[in-house]
Amino acid sequence: MMTTLAYVVAYLGLVFFLIACVARFMMWSKMPMHVRWELYPVAHEGGGKAAYGGSYLEETDWWTKKREVSLVGELKVMVPEILFLVALREHNKKLWTRSFPFHFGLYLVGGVTALMLVGGLIVGYLPESIAAPVGKIISSVVPFLGGAGLVLGIIGAVGLFLRRRGRALRDYTAPADLFNLIFFIAAFGVALVTFIGFDRDFSMVETFIVNLVTFNLAPIGDGTGGMLLTLSAVLLALLVAYIPTTHMSHFIGKYFAYHSIRWSDEPNLAGGSQEKTIHELLSRPVTWSAPHIKADGKKSWLDVTLEDDDNETT
């Protein structure tokens, strides 16, 4: 009964996570075009310009030339940033010593879970001749990576919690910020206790995940070990569902913060595709109330922009 509950919560948690992430992604991607607000260096600037923060605006008659955009340049910044939080290391080393283990721990736990899901699919749906060796490889790396991930995640979360309680950040910390970290510590802590005390080879977890992907809701483990496994599965599933509903969804937002804002330097060339969108946005009504705006809720941006020059003072 308890294990069935864990399966159900895990399914719900994963589904909710996916739906919430897609919804977040859609929310950011559907936002209207905004004015350019880039910040240099822009990683995809080609011709060696990204290295010193240069842009195509350094070129004479830049609008007549082909822009050099380097995907490799973007990846050279993005991949180390995602994996090692390079910007934080450069600008706030103290915080990085806490945030990096936390995030890397999450990556390891997430990666190990994904690995076990893939393993589960292979074991569940592929012939024994393929499933057995693959399963063996996965089983051999999972305990090490999973254990390391849990330990790093807990160390990082405790470090972040203490830092948030410290003098500098205390005033900027809401109870929810502390709750988020406690939630991580609790979920990872129970998983770590389960691993150390009852599931050293991650076999129970692996079975649980294989069962998840094969829709086999069979009970796993018994006694304290089984109970702890159930508890950690429930906590982790709830945590996974909770993340995208909070500002911890910044892993989605950050993509847009870079690609749609900081690095968004695509020029609006005369006669190009952006002009139609801009025209549509300039046709939107303005309701700002200050007298000099001269808006009445019906006039558009274009109307108020082209108002006569008899501009009012405040």
Partner: protein, 534 residues
Amino acid sequence: MKQPDSVKDMGRRPGEPLAQINQFEQIPLPPPFDKLEDEPEFAQLSDSAREKYVVLDDTIAVNIEKPTTKEEEEKLVNGFLSGLEKLFSVEDNWTFLQPFEMSMEHCAKCHTCSDACPIYEESGENELYRPVYRSEILRRIYFKYIKKASPSLHGDIDLNWETVARLIELSYRCNLCRRCAQTCPIGADNGLLSREIRKIASMEMGIVPKELHDDGSVLQLKVGSSTGMTPMIVKDNIEFIDEDTAERTGYPIETPFDVQGADILLIHNAGEIMAWPENPGAFATLFEAAGLSWTLSSDVIGYDGINYGVWYDDVQFARVAVRHAQVAKKLGVKKIVLGECGHAHKALTVIADKVLTGDLNIPRESAIVTMRDILRSGAIKIDKSRNDFPVTLHDPCNMVRLMGIVSPQREIIHEVVPEGRFREMAPHGVENYCCGGGSGFAIMSGHNFQDWRHRMTGRRKFRQILDAFQDESMDPSHMKYLCAPCSNCKGQIRDIITYYDAFEKAGIYYGGLVELIVNAMEDVQPGFIDWEWH
């Protein structure tokens, strides 16, 4: 040093300044200005000003009168909330909706940005000037009073007229240099939030510093320039500048006006014509010597590239940008070239990029790039030895961090300054520090605001300038050139050099980039840079 204990103090301690700086506790400057006791005395706010206007700290930028009735108090609070809601509307704020929401939602309040802020650092890390302090107040007001979320989710804040008035005042304690945003590990932009607070104040409540609005964008739209110069006056002034420049250089010039079909419409910051006539004179000399097809415009607004809306009001911004484009369209030029003015560069090239369409979408280019190409072309003969003095370069934030124009100015300096004479500031390029006059501060001087910006916003730049010349003799007879290719930056730098008497005491002189080029031109008489303090 007095500072707030908490974000919540914003609506508490009625009538009391939340922060005060003790000038004798500031970090000393490099030699020869390293004795705090020798620095000018920090002018204090008058009692009458403290009585009449909302008090935040040691100075006043916006002049928000204290409300005298309950209705006036409610008007401030309700106006602010109404404006804040509009910032989340596609209709009213499509211009910045995504960057704004991103910064409202995803700031982790980790304080990484604090160390990047020169104002926070030079204040002795006063909490009031922490970049996240003001944005945290804005976030809490939004989540608690508009979204009606529990304070346990996003933090608590009292909302009263004083919270609102102080927050608006506090939005004018930021240079909008966006150095903080550059260091944010998530991509939040607390500098932008300062600008969005200014927008609420201006676009919804009609509250804005007089220098930016009444004497700034309104005057520009009305008569053509925030300097008050009408087309006729501009033409007269330029004629005088041409004569004066020709006398100095021995190279006759006549600045072309309103040339139909010219390749280039050059738009200066009109402040150059008033305060630094050698700059437009040098441009005319260089462009004529290079044989460019160019013109100035004598149409209203066509001769003043400033656009103060970029600091506080999207509609005022759009009005000025469109008129600049209309002037260029009327002349039928191939491109607009922006003179040495950082915010004019960013306003018309980058921000207006998503405003100008159709036949108003006329290409815009930086004069720095145009000048670099003149030198590359070999059209001008250069004698570097005429610039045989120490030179350092100030990077205007708007051109560099916010546009990525980094290399051309250095290439120019390499071409016109002898080897070993140029030294970079540390840091420089896209990591530069603001001059301290950014976001309108260079033209704001009510009450003791000028003193405040010298002490707080410009101090880091002055420190950098002194550091850059530390390997040189600081004897005033040993002249040193600070190149600042931006009109507003020059205004701020002029003021700070004057404040510390750095020309008389240390021989630090300043000027633009084009002046360095003309000073090295073989075809003109030597001595274009006159080393006289104007």
